[in-house]
Subunit: 323 residues, 2 copies
Amino acid sequence: MAQTQIRPEVLIVTPPGSFTYFESDFTQKFNVLKAWESPLPLDQYVTTHAQSVQALICHAYTPVNADLLQLLPALKLVASPSTGADYVDKAECRRRGVAVTNAGDAYSEDVADIAVGLFIDVHRKISAADSYVRRGLWSSKGDYPLGSKIGGKRVGIVGLGSIGYEVAKRLEAFGCKISYNSRSERPSLSYPFYSNVCELAANTDALIICCALTDQTHHMINKEVLSALGREGVIVNVGRGAVIDEKELVKCLVNREIRGAGLDVFEKEPHIPKELVEMDNVVLSPHKAVFTLESFKRGSEVLIANLEAFFSNKPLVTPAMDE
Amino acid sequence: MAQTQIRPEVLIVTPPGSFTYFESDFTQKFNVLKAWESPLPLDQYVTTHAQSVQALICHAYTPVNADLLQLLPALKLVASPSTGADYVDKAECRRRGVAVTNAGDAYSEDVADIAVGLFIDVHRKISAADSYVRRGLWSSKGDYPLGSKIGGKRVGIVGLGSIGYEVAKRLEAFGCKISYNSRSERPSLSYPFYSNVCELAANTDALIICCALTDQTHHMINKEVLSALGREGVIVNVGRGAVIDEKELVKCLVNREIRGAGLDVFEKEPHIPKELVEMDNVVLSPHKAVFTLESFKRGSEVLIANLEAFFSNKPLVTPAMDE
C-alpha cells in the first residue's frame, strides 16, 4: 500500500491548457484546489482557502491583479504557464513578496513555427486559396491570384529573444535577410540591429513581432511604424495583441497601406475586429502558437518543476524576468 | 525610326501564366500566334500556320499529344513553361525530332516554400483555424484543437532534385530529420537514402512528394505506401496529382488511416474529390506552388532564353531531361 503523503496545496482559478491535458501529472504531486469547479463565487472560494494557499497557477483569462492578490495573504508564488506572463501584475507581486515564474523557453520552437507558417501563408496566400478551392471557385473562376516570393525578403524581427532567434534561424534557410530590434543589441549575432523600430520597419519588407507586452512595448507598432513599413509590407504578430495599435493596423489593412498580416494575437481575445474577418490578405490564428501536445507536455513539466522547487525551497527554474 | 526586324514565329495554344503577366517581353522578340484569340477551331487555326510554325509554347491545360504534333509538321521545339512537362508527349516528340525544354529550376525555391507552408499548415492547423476564427467560433466555442510539433519530425522526401533539396534545407532549420527516396542516391548528401518508397514511408512521419510524373512514378504512392506511413502520418504533394493514387489517399483520409495532407496538385485539376472539401485535416492549394510574380518573371526569362537559343541555333538552355 502506497504511503500517504501530504501534497502541497496549489490553487488554480482557471485551468491552463497544459493542466487540462496533463491533469494527473499535477494531481499526483499537488493537492489542486479547482476554483472553477466550485459552485461558490470566485472571491468566496478564494477567501475560504486564503490562509493556506501559497502557490497559484494562473491563466490569461483570469488576470492576477491587485484584487486577487489581496484575497490571498499567504501567497508566495504565481506560476504562469505562459512565456509572456503579462496578465500577472508583477509590480504588485513584487510589492507583496510574491515570486512569479513563467514557461521559460518551453514554447519557443512552436511559436517560431507558427510565426513562419503565418509569414509563408500571408505571402503565398495559402489559407485564402484553401478557402477558394473549398468554395468551388478554382474550377469556376480559374487560378487564384499570385503571391509574393519568400526568398530575398528583408525581415525585421521585433524582440530577438529565444522565439525571435528561432524565427530568424528558420527564415534564413528560406533565403530571407534578417535584421532586428530588441531591448539591447546581441553582439554574438551578426544580424543588423536597429535601436529604433521605425527605422527597422523602413528598412525591411516584413516585421515579425516576437517581444513581450510591457509598458514599453504597448502600442509600439503604431501608425508611424506601419507607414514606415509601407504598402508592400507585411506584419506578423506572435507576441501580444496590444504590442500593435490594433485600430491603426486595421485601418492600414482596410486602406491597403500595408500588404497583409498574419495575426496569432489580438487586443481583445477571443474577439477579433470585424473588418479583419472580411479580408483575404490577413491570416487569423486563435492565439494557438503553443497549441501542440508536445508543447503542452513540456509546459506542464516546467510548471511542475517550478512548483516543486518552490515547495522544497530550491531556486525557481524559470523565474519571470523583469520584462 | 527603329529598324523593322522579322521576328521568329511562336505558336501559343493556351497562354501560360508567365506569358499572361509578361506578354510584352515575348511580343517584342517573337511574332506570337495566339490561337486562343482566334475564332477558328483549334485544328483549323493550327493547320493554317502548319507549314511555318517551328516553335510552340505549351500549357498544362492543352496537352501536346500526337494529334497536335501531327498538325504541325514543321515543329522543332516545344517550350514548356513548367518544371514538370508531363503534359508533353516526349516519346512522340523524340520520334518526330522535336526538342522539348522545361523551366529548369526556375521555380524550385517557390515550390519548396509552398511545400513547407503546407507541411506547417497541416501539422499546426493554420488554414482550418483561420476558417474557425472567421466563422466566429473562437469566441463561441473556445480554443481550436491542438496541432502537432514540427521539430523532431522525420520527413521523407520523394524526389531529391532541386525542389526536394530546397525543401530539405528549409525543414532542417525547423529541427526535422530528413531522409529520401529518389531515382538514384546522391552521395554528396548525408541524408539517409531509401531505394524503396514503402520503406521510406515506414521510417518517417511525413512524406513530401517532389518528384516528376513519369510512367515509373504514376500512382507510386499507393495503398501500401500510405499504410506504411501510418495513422499519424502526413503527406504533402507539390509534384503531380497522379504520383499519388488519389482514390486511395481520399479513403485513407476519410477513415483517418493517415493524419492529414497538404495538396497543391490533384489528378483531375481543377476538379477536387468532393470528400476533401469536407475535411479539416487537409489543406487544398490550387496548383499555385509557382504562383509568385517573381517566379513568373523568372519563368518567362527561361522560356525566352530557350526560344532565342533555338532560333539562333545555340544549345538549348534547359532541355527537358528524360523523366
